[in-house]
């Protein structure tokens, strides 16, 4: 250990190993707890409302009238397990639409069956979350839910055309349908390569809701939404450029698209830096010198502007 570098008073490797063992033991204990609590055969499938078994007619009956839907449903993840393996966990028509006997016996009266395509969004969401709440626990509180955007606004349960997740269309086309303003952003000269397919909206946003604004994905360090890819500026650094850490990358960058290079918020680095580093704003370090002679771009010297391990002024 280099003198002066011991921050904790104990060996880091030992501590890390201890933590690993504790958590490994915890992981191994979970199955035991599960087994101990496993009197119930209930699994994480539908929390289905209680109905009389006689009210159900089976998907084969549905297919007699809805053959077009049934045919497409064969490749649907909701049903394929049942089709391939006869697994009862596969979902069929009445898992979502409710028992169909009344509907069938009335000759197809649409008022006798749950029509999710015409149901209020909360009914739709509640139906889907019966099974998917574990995967999307924040959806109830998400901006999309409050905007009346339901699950079937984006997902086509019966016949999806996108390759994954039963989406009605692939990203970003699907997202642009409502977020037309973002389409403009991602067509600016400098932009994240969303249209090119390299990055998806869902790489940074969880549209089903998070604990953060704008549906940004939650991480232990909020900037990790950015630094998952931009690993070189992740840090931590001995000398953090504090606004980068405290206020986030968007203090200086516009993430979706910009006419400015490097997605900067201002067109040149000097004007960007001097928004804060002016004597006018207490807390500023350097002010803007006058004229042409000394306005060298700040990063000519302060190259490690995201943070440095060697220099308080980010010059090394």
């Amino acid at each position: 250990m280099v003198a002066g570098r011991n921050l904790t008073g104990c060996g880091y490797a030992e501590e890390y190993m201890k933590r690993f063992l504790v958590w490994a033991a915890a992981i191994l204990l979970v199955p035991g707890l599960a087994y101990a609590a496993g009197g119930s055969k209930q699994t994480a499938t539908a929390k289905a409302p209680v109905h009389n078994a006689a009210d159900y007619v089976g998907s084969e009956t549905c297919a007699t009238c809805h053959a077009d839907v049934a045919q497409k449903f064969e490749s649907n993840p909701h049903s394929k397990m049942a089709l391939i393996h006869g697994n009862p966990q596969g979902q069929t028509c009445e898992s979502c639409h409710g028992p169909g006997r009344a509907h069938v016996e009335s000759g197809g009266d649409v008022s006798k069956i749950l029509q999710l395509s015409k149901a209020p969004t909360k009914v739709v969401d509640a139906t889907c979350l019966t099974c998917h709440a574990g995967a999307h626990p924040n959806f109830d509180r998400s901006p999309h839910a409050r905007a009346g955007v339901s699950c079937i606004s984006c997902h086509s349960v019966h016949s999806s055309t996108a390759e994954t997740k039963l989406l009605k269309a692939s990203q970003p086309k699907l997202c642009y349908q409502c977020h037309a303003d973002q389409k403009a952003q991602f067509n600016m000269p400098i932009h994240h390569k969303v249209n090119e397919g390299l990055v998806k909206c869902s790489d940074c946003h969880d549209v089903h809701g998070t604990f953060l604004a704008n549906n940004l994905k939650s991480t232990e360090d909020q900037n990790q939404v950015c630094t998952k890819c931009h690993t070189d500026v992740r840090g931590p650094f001995v000398f953090e450029h504090a606004p980068v850490r405290a206020e986030g990358c968007v203090t200086c960058h516009t993430p979706h698209g910009s006419q400015n290079p490097r997605l900067l918020n201002m067109p040149s680095i000097a004007t960007l830096c001097n928004q804060c580093h002016s004597p006018l704003s207490a807390g500023g370090v350097h002010g803007l010198d006058p004229g042409s002679t000394t306005v060298t771009p700040c990063i000519t010297c302060h190259t490690m502007i995201h943070g440095s391990n060697n220099s308080q002024a980010f010059i090394r």
Binding site: M81, T121, I190, E196, D232, F237, V238, A282, G283, S292
Partner: protein, 862 residues
């Protein structure tokens, strides 16, 4: 050191004969590929129905395979650097797409997979390559893998513009009668250009996804590697342009177990560990060696951003011997001793002959997270998590070595070499955080929700770089040369900002709590309303000690703590006026009692409206409007001002807004036609009061207002003059895409996209490049696809990419002299500039390019 050629190969974009030849080969190959298709098409029965994917059923599966092979032909004129920065598509053969899907048929037993899909694109040289694999087997496992490779190229010459006017030079031979001149080079590349390849692999495996116990494993690997340019603060005498070879990698491991004790409850324990490894190193830009020593050693002059060429002040005149007569008669450079060689620099003049900096860094960041989600309580859903991170970054061996000559003064003393080694740094990163959210469905129409987030981050660290070991020539006339053969004197020196051999301790920390309380009311199936009250408290501390407020006059590092309380209200409305019409909007208004930065928001409001109307199943009309406005109309460091530690220098008066209105129409009335039209107008504006730290004349923009005693109201102390930094970027975006399918075999598409900005900015620097505030980026396209035979199609696409910048943006400000205290006046008001005459276009040509790209491919599926 020779030119490694890393940059030359990518930025030389003028079409070469080799490139044209290659493009021709690609075109020929694509046409040859198409020829059989044409032949097949001619022989085929015209009554062949629309092509259907051909499926085979190998042993209980259906499978489908597609591949698009072809190539690109790119012809670029104008700025190749800008083309690579924005587009970077070049000529060559490509696998433009490949997909494979495999599905088990009903009744298939004992198979390894039930479903498998793979997709790849861009192989062969495109800047963006990705490959994806999904595989699953019913209740047993789900696997996901994604590989992405992208080339990050940026040579947008803005952050450090050339700075140096064309035509300046250094005399070769006697200064008063030079035999030749060495051009003082303009820096035409961005000093922060980069050409990096990033490879990212993400994999995840879920075992027993539908069981009570589900195990999840993940592994991600990321690397960034490639050359960049980086300016550097003083290397020996002057700043230098370095080549920074970026080389870092990140490994991320994930293990998790989900326990579902009830159908409506899930508890998850997750452990994630990230290991980051950086071996980035620096050396002199190989293109920067413009002179040589007498023994043939290439030498670097440095000072690449200087307005004034390298001159006699860089030389130790007392050691120059007969080469120095007086300040106007001297010889710094002599002609090369062989044709085509570099000029020879006087051995008493400052140069850098070699430079190396390495700072290998390793970071471990393990995080444990415990999550839960439950709907077990009647009418209540809730979820949350608690997470703990304690990572650590170690830089064990800092090394920096500079060789050359640094003339420190004229008494004969000079540094021959400097060396830092043995430096190290370490920093811990500890985060504990928790989130909790719940919704109580009080009635079928009313619900109450609360969401709270807490996080506490601590980063203590320390760093040391020992005093540099400096080998200096002993004092004495004639000793201060790079050829001195006597005993060198060992000494120490230091760089500013704490790089002085003293271990420096530092700290950063932040704690915040954010709570959102929301009441929702479903007035009817056609109308929902929600009202949210948000409160947040943040404490940010930096430096040691950091208990007090951040002071007015700052040292290095900044010490202090700042507290910010924020209150905001958010109103949501979701309306469903008609069966096919959705309309929703948000209004958010808030206030913070402090701000961490000048551009931090003190008052803010955001309005958003989205609407979607589908009058027909084939017609969609969408519209959106968003307006985000933020103000900071006071000094940001309120605590320091209140405690008397900081002076009130006047309002920052920061304002920024982003107002965007968009409309989109998609029409697809039948299988033959479709049209997609979009238009957006965005008004992005930001402005902040700033102070000039040095005095100037009252002709400086926004001259200070003086009190009766002559003291400026603003910009106290040395910062006398006041200006308003601003950017105004009104931007229009338009796009139209047409698709025409006259028969099932043929498809024609065409479209046009343009994004154009016509704005202005604060222009404080005559040398600043006329930036991107007046520019247009457009890309029309035309594509055609024809199916010759079921499963075999020929495709062609033409893309035009054009980028152009307009004239000066804003009022260019010019200095009257090169003095640091020069008057600054609008260039248009001062035709007789004494320093330099600046063309209206600035020192650099506008960054324009045009590119005609053709992509030809065959699509085959079976």
């Amino acid at each position: 050191m020779g030119n490694h050629g890393w940059f030359a190969g990518t930025i030389t974009q003028q079409p070469s004969f080799a490139g044209i030849r290659r493009a021709a080969v690609v075109a020929a190959a694509a046409l040859l590929l198409g020829a059989p298709g044409i032949a097949v098409a001619q022989d085929a029965n015209p009554a062949v129905p629309a092509p259907e994917p051909q499926f085979s059923t190998p042993d209980g599966y259906t499978s489908h395979h597609t591949i698009d092979m072809g190539g690109r032909i790119a012809n670029i004129t104008g700025s190749g650097s800008m083309y690579d920065t924005l587009v970077n598509l070049h000529s060559g053969p490509r696998i433009l797409g490949e997909s494979y899907t495999l599905h088990a048929l009903p009744g298939k037993k004992h198979a390894l997979v039930d479903d498998l899909s793979a997709f790849g694109s861009g192989f062969g040289g495109d800047p963006y390559v990705f490959a994806k694999l999904d595989a699953s087997k019913s209740k047993y496992y789900e696997f996901y893998g994604l590989f992405r490779r992208d080339r990050l190229y940026s040579d947008y010459d803005l952050l450090g513009n050339p700075n140096i006017p064309y035509g300046q030079s250094i005399p070769i031979g006697p200064s008063n009668a030079p035999s030749a001149k060495l051009a003082w080079p303009q820096v035409n590349q961005s000093p922060v250009m980069f050409n990096i390849v990033r490879r990212m692999t993400d994999t995840s495996l879920t075992l027993a996804p539908f069981a009570k116990l589900t195990y999840r494993f993940g592994y991600s690997h990321s690397t960034m590697e490639g050359p960049t340019l980086s300016p550097s603060y003083t290397i020996l005498k002057y700043n230098a342009l370095l080549e920074q070879y970026e080389r870092n990698g990140s490994d991320d491991y994930l293990g998790a177990v989900d326990w579902k004790p009830r159908a409506d409850t899930k508890i998850t324990f997750e452990m994630q560990a990230n290991h980051y490894k950086s071996d980035t190193f620096f050396q002199l830009n190989p293109n920067g060696f413009t002179v040589q020593e007498a023994d043939g050693t290439p030498a670097y002059l440095g000072n690449f951003t200087s307005f004034v060429p390298y001159g006699i002040s860089a030389c130790n005149t007392t050691s120059m011997g007969g080469a120095y007569t007086n300040s106007s008669t001297y010889t710094m450079l002599t002609p090369a001793n062989q044709p085509g060689g570099l000029p020879i620099i006087n051995p008493a003049c400052a140069v850098v002959t070699s430079y190396t900096r390495t700072l290998p860094t390793r970071i471990w960041t393990p995080t444990e997270t415990l999550r839960f989600q439950s709907g077990a309580i009647r009418n209540i859903t809730m979820n949350g998590n608690i997470h703990y991170t304690r990572g650590r970054s170690d830089l064990d061996h800092y090394y920096e070595d500079a060789r050359g000559l640094s003339t420190l003064n004229t008494n004969g003393t000079a540094n021959r070499a400097v060396l830092w080694t043995g430096g190290n740094a370490t920093v811990q990163h500890t985060v504990i955080g928790a989130d909790f959210g719940m919704v109580w469905h009080a009635t079928s129409a009313v619900s109450i929700a609360d969401q709270a987030t807490y996080s506490s981050t601590h980063e203590p660290g320390n760093s040391i770089i020992p005093p540099q070991t400096a080998l200096a020539d002993p004092a004495g006339a004639g000793n201060g040369t790079i050829n001195y053969t006597g005993t060198l004197v060992t000494g120490t020196a230091s760089l500013p900002h704490g790089i002085n051999g003293v271990r420096v301790y530092n700290y950063y920390g932040q704690e915040y709590l954010i709570n959102n309380l929301t009441g929702s009311w479903d007035v009817s199936p056609r109308a929902q309303f929600a009202l949210t009250y948000r409160y947040s408290n943040r404490n940010i501390g930096q430096g040691i000690p950091h208990q007090g407020p951040i002071p007015d006059v700052l040292g290095d590092p900044v010490n202090g703590t700042i507290t910010i309380n924020e209150n905001a209200g958010v109103f949501n409305a979701a309306l469903h006026p008609a069966q096919h019409w959705d309309l929703n909007g948000t209004a958010e208004i808030g206030y913070a009692d402090n701000a961490f930065t000048a551009v931090g928001q003190r008052q803010f409001r955001t309005f958003r409206v989205h609407t979607l109307y589908r009058p027909k199943t084939w017609a969609t009309i969408s519209g959106s409007f968003s307006d985000r406005e933020r103000h900071n109309n006071t000094n940001n460091n309120a605590d320091a001002i209140a405690s008397g530690d900081a002076n009130y220098n006047g309002p920052i008066n920061h304002v920024d807004h982003s107002r965007i209105g968009s409309i989109g129409v998609v029409l697809a009335p039948n299988e033959h036609y479709s049209v997609d039209v979009n238009y957006s107008y965005s008004d992005v504006y930001a402005a902040t009061n700033i102070c000039f730290s040095n005095g100037a004349t009252a002709t400086a923009p926004g001259a200070a207002t003086l009190t009766s005693s002559g003291t400026p109201y603003l910009c106290s102390g040395n910062a006398t003059w006041f200006g308003r930094d601003f950017m105004d970027a009104p931007t229009q975006f338009a796009m139209i895409g047409l698709s025409y399918t006259p028969v099932a075999k043929a498809r024609l598409g065409a479209g046009y996209t343009i994004s154009a900005v016509n704005g202005s900015r604060f222009f404080n620097d005559a040398r600043d490049v006329n930036g991107s505030m007046v520019s247009a980026y457009q890309s029309p396209y035309l594509n055609f696809a024809y199916t010759f035979h079921p499963g075999l199609s020929w495709k062609a696409e033409y893309n035009y990419y054009g980028y152009g910048e307009g004239g000066p943006s804003g009022a260019a400000m010019c200095s009257t002299t090169t003095s640091a205290t020069a008057s600054v006046v609008p260039c248009s008001n001062f035709p007789g500039l004494t320093a330099v005459t600046v063309s209206p276009a600035g020192f650099t040509a506008p960054r324009n390019f045009h590119a005609n790209n053709v992509t030809i491919s065959m699509h085959y599926e079976f």
